[in-house]
């Protein structure tokens, strides 16, 4: 279910790191909790994002939720597809519906993130409480 090559946050974001670029999205668990997603708003290319700080919002029919960055760095790209088709966050959260790409400022930050197995254990615990 949760790709092994990703790392995960407690706020249900994932990151895939390829050399100095990290691609960030929200997890399948997050999209299910939010329900039908109608609007996505994220930081612009060139802006700086900080680890554990909000870089945008995801709006579903139920609520507007903050998205927190797993790492610090400069936004290298944003996924333009989400502006017109935010609903792909519900259908393809781990693939085509990535949110932003960040040029990592400090690689050591990713060491604090969860692996896929740790994240699955974490959400199982979340669901049982």
């Amino acid at each position: 279910m949760y790709p092994q090559e990703f790392l995960y946050t407690k706020q249900h974001e994932w990151i895939r790191v390829d050399e100095e670029i990290g691609t960030i999205g929200i997890t399948d668990y997050a999209q299910k909790e939010l329900g039908d997603i109608v609007y996505v708003e994220v930081a612009k290319p060139g802006e700086h994002v900080a680890a554990n700080e909000s870089f945008g919002t995801v709006e579903s029919v139920k609520a507007v939720s903050e998205i927190y960055s797993p790492v610090s760095g400069e936004v290298a790209a944003v996924n333009a597809k989400l502006q017109k088709n935010p609903e792909i966050l519900n259908t393809d959260p781990h693939g085509g519906a990535w949110l932003i790409q960040v040029r990592l400022a400090d690689r050591s930050e990713i060491e604090k993130l969860m692996t896929a197995d740790e994240y699955e254990a974490y959400i199982q615990k979340e669901e049982s409480t």
Partner: protein, 470 residues
């Protein structure tokens, strides 16, 4: 509001519960220097007929016999009796949009129509379900522009209502926003060269009022070009929206907001007023306040819902788009009823009456020796008059003759000593106009007979009789 009296026995029961033997003892703990000594300075009790008579006389003294040429952000227009008759219906008589909104389809429909009417007038795509008044709507528009552009510097024309400027300063006091005023030029319009040099890459928005505080129309198309070149937003605020029935709507703006009191909400001491805010659709999600949307129920019937509420403060708490906790539903409803009663052509005719009367009075006053209308820019129902006398003294003189001659501009513009802001709406009758021009002429110390006064009145009447273009 309900009147909740308390009887002697109620008071005795309350005192017993607090353990005090008298009201005096109850208030003892408040230091005596902070307490009122003696009784309130109020007249004694009156019977119901006496009270009615008291207010009848007070109303006669204060308004009926007076001619008012006072505008400056609050406009006296005739309010058809149907407006208040419909407003007072029990189904509508609340200032609040219901939190469980969908049970009140009638209220939501009225708000939806208010939004639609406002966007039709302003030429924008979306409108909200009202804000408190024109000043807070303007301040909210600025906060919105700051959110959209993520810039924190704002320009404001000096010709924007000075009290709107004060309210804006209060709103942004604690968020480090820089506000700079842009001067006006000899025409009474925003100085375009001054604007160019004030704009930069940090500028979130320019706020311009049209008709502006001097009653002069601003060149919004030219202004928009300059503002958009620096990636900033143009906010047009409007205090006299009746002008929109004749003036081209400022479609080139990004946000158009203002005051809708002109439409069916009479002038009263201190209010109420009703703000509106409309914008381009791409800024929808940054709009403050409540929005009503049209939808269909599960059987396909038309219905109304509060929409985008997920961004509001009762759901998003401190991360809400705005912190508007209520709106001016009842006044917005008055606006909706008023505009529906007048219709497109009625509104246009009314605006033409205002235009014709105001321009007529402006010409008559300017014909008095020593008096001039210094600003050359086009105006709607309000304009600036320069007089050879101190404006305050002149106004006091006119007031003795039961004429409220206008607004003393020196209060906000020290450089405009001897300048009055004069407003003429449809409520100022032909007799009142004649009386005013005569009194004005005497008050500025001129024996000048107003030339061609009769011919002028005929001009006005001809303008009023002219068929309305479809």
């Amino acid at each position: 509001m309900r009147y909740l009296p308390n009887s002697d026995s109620d008071r005795a029961a309350m005192l017993k519960a607090t353990g005090c033997s008298s009201v005096e003892e109850f208030f003892d703990r408040i230091p005596s220097e902070l307490r009122l000594k003696g009784r309130l300075n109020l007249p004694g009790p009156l019977s119901e007929p006496e009270i009615l008579e008291f207010f009848r006389q007070a109303a006669r003294r204060s308004t009926r016999e007076y001619v008012s040429l006072l505008g400056a952000g609050a406009y006296r227009h005739y309010v058809p009796v149907a407006v208040n008759a419909l407003l007072s219906r029990g189904e509508f008589f609340t200032a609040y949009t219901p939190y469980q909104a969908e049970i009140a389809q009638g209220t939501l429909q009225a708000m939806f129509e208010f939004q639609t009417l406002m966007t039709q007038l302003t030429g924008m795509d979306v409108g909200n379900a009202s804000l408190y008044d024109g000043s807070t709507a303007t301040a909210e528009a600025v906060l919105m522009a700051i959110r959209v552009t993520r810039r924190n510097r704002v320009l404001l024309a000096r010709t924007v209502h000075p009290e709107y400027y004060q309210v804006l300063r209060t709103f942004i006091r604690h968020q480090g926003t820089e506000v700079q005023q842009v001067p006006y030029e000899a025409s009474g319009q925003l100085d375009l060269a001054g604007l160019e040099s004030a704009l930069n890459a940090e500028t979130a928005a320019l706020v311009v009022q049209s008709p502006n505080f001097f009653g002069t129309l601003e060149r919004t198309a030219k202004i928009a070009e300059a503002v958009h070149r620096s990636g900033s937003l143009l906010i047009v605020t409007i205090a006299e929206p009746l002008s929109l029935a004749l003036v081209k709507p400022p479609r080139e703006a990004d946000i158009v907001c203002g005051e809708a009191q002109s439409f069916g909400v009479g002038v009263a001491f201190g209010g109420p007023y009703v703000g509106f805010l409309t914008a381009k659709e791409k800024f929808l999600r940054q709009m403050p306040g409540r929005l009503v949307g049209q939808t269909v129920d599960k059987e396909g019937r038309r219905g109304f819902v509060l929409t985008l509420a997920t961004r509001e403060q009762h759901i998003r708490r401190e991360k809400a788009t705005s912190n508007i906790c209520t709106n001016q539903s009842l006044c917005a409803l008055a606006v909706t009823i008023y505009l529906s009663l007048l219709g497109k052509n009625g509104l246009k005719r009314l605006a033409e009456q205002n235009l014709a009367k105001a321009h007529y009075v402006a010409r008559q006053l300017a014909a008095i020796p020593g008096v001039a209308t210094p600003f050359g820019g086009p105006h709607f129902n309000e304009f600036v008059v320069r007089t050879p006398r101190d404006a305050g003294e002149l106004l006091a003189d006119l007031q003795k003759q039961k004429i409220i001659g206008g607004f003393n501009l020196e209060r906000f513009y020290p450089e405009l000593k001897n300048h009055l802001l004069v407003c003429v709406t449809e409520t100022v009758s032909r007799e009142a106009i004649e009386r005013t021009v005569e009194a004005f002429s005497r008050a500025v110390g001129s024996d000048h007979e107003t030339e061609n006064a009769a011919a002028g009145v005929e001009l006005v009447e001809a303008a009023l009789r002219r068929p309305v273009a479809k």
